[in-house]
């Protein structure tokens, strides 16, 4: 049963990711990415990471992807244009990608012990323990991350602000009203 669920969700994740690559319209790619994230959330649940699974759905599939879809619709992004600029990518791209995945798989097979199994419910990563550890051992990174978010908010507002008098985003900072 566990194996079946793993292969269903893993297949769904890979299928959605391939669909992301094949779709020409950005909104279809965004919907595929939401599918990948939902499948990954199920896999996190199977690994006993309930908190991460919930955060994955709320933060990734919810907030971030809404932002993506919003921007795609705001910019009225149409179908992708095909350009034939790079012959290198056309002929060597796929072999190089396959080389990358096989080399990573080879490293994983060599490093990971073969008897390491994943059993459902074996490791209850309790959310309370995550919170305790987050606010005791990882307090400084937590505070630094809050500053990073503050900087990101200010940067986003400055970058995306529409100014009527000057053109170009660089001058927007100077022209304070």
């Amino acid at each position: 049963m566990y194996q079946l669920l793993f292969f269903v969700f893993a297949g769904a994740a890979v299928g959605f990711a391939i669909n992301l690559l094949l779709q020409r319209h950005p909104i279809h790619s965004a919907l595929s990415l939401i599918g990948v994230m939902a499948s990954l959330a199920s896999l996190y649940l199977m690994l006993g990471a309930e908190f991460i699974a919930a955060a994955q759905i709320i933060v990734y599939a919810g907030a971030i992807m809404v932002l993506f879809v919003f921007v795609i619709m705001l910019l009225n992004a149409g179908e992708e244009e095909r350009t034939q600029r790079s012959r290198f990518a056309k002929y060597l791209g796929l072999p190089l990608i396959l080389l990358l995945v096989t080399s990573m798989a080879a490293v994983i097979y060599r490093q990971v012990p073969q008897d390491a199994m994943v059993r459902f419910g074996d490791f209850p990563g309790r959310t309370a323990d995550i919170g305790r550890r987050l606010f005791l051992n990882y307090l400084l990174p937590f505070e630094v991350v809050s500053i990073v978010i503050l900087v990101a908010i200010i940067g986003t507002v400055v970058l995306a602000r529409k100014d009527s008098e000057t053109e170009g985003p660089g001058k927007a900072v100077v022209s304070e009203k």
């Binding site: 793993f6 893993a10 990711a17 391939i18 990471a49 990734y60 244009e81 940067g155």
Partner: protein, 100 residues
């Protein structure tokens, strides 16, 4: 029961698909989505190894990765909006000059 290496190889496949999307796609928004796909693949590795080592630190790192990804998505999309306002195009082949 599933071997741990299956999870890691799934993560490797997703990461490689993200790299492929980053290199082959021409729409800047889709390229950005490929970056998110790569981040997700790395997160899966963290959670799988956190399970295998029986330690919660991996899950906390995933939490931080998610926070940084959210900040990065907000700033990146703001930059994309600004680029589109100046260039009227989302094709990265046309955004090849620093100055207009």
């Amino acid at each position: 029961m599933v071997p741990l290496s299956y999870y890691l190889i799934l993560s490797a496949i997703l990461f490689t698909l993200g790299v492929a999307g980053f290199l082959f796609k021409r729409n800047i928004v889709t390229i950005f989505m490929s970056v998110e796909l790569m981040l997700n693949a790395v997160n899966l590795t963290f959670v799988a190894l956190s399970y295998s080592l029986r330690q919660l630190d991996g899950q906390i790192i995933v939490f931080f990765v998610m926070v940084i990804a959210a900040a990065e998505a907000a700033v990146g999309l703001a930059i994309i909006i600004t680029v589109f306002r100046n260039r009227e195009s989302l094709n990265v082949d046309r955004i090849d000059l620093m100055k207009l």
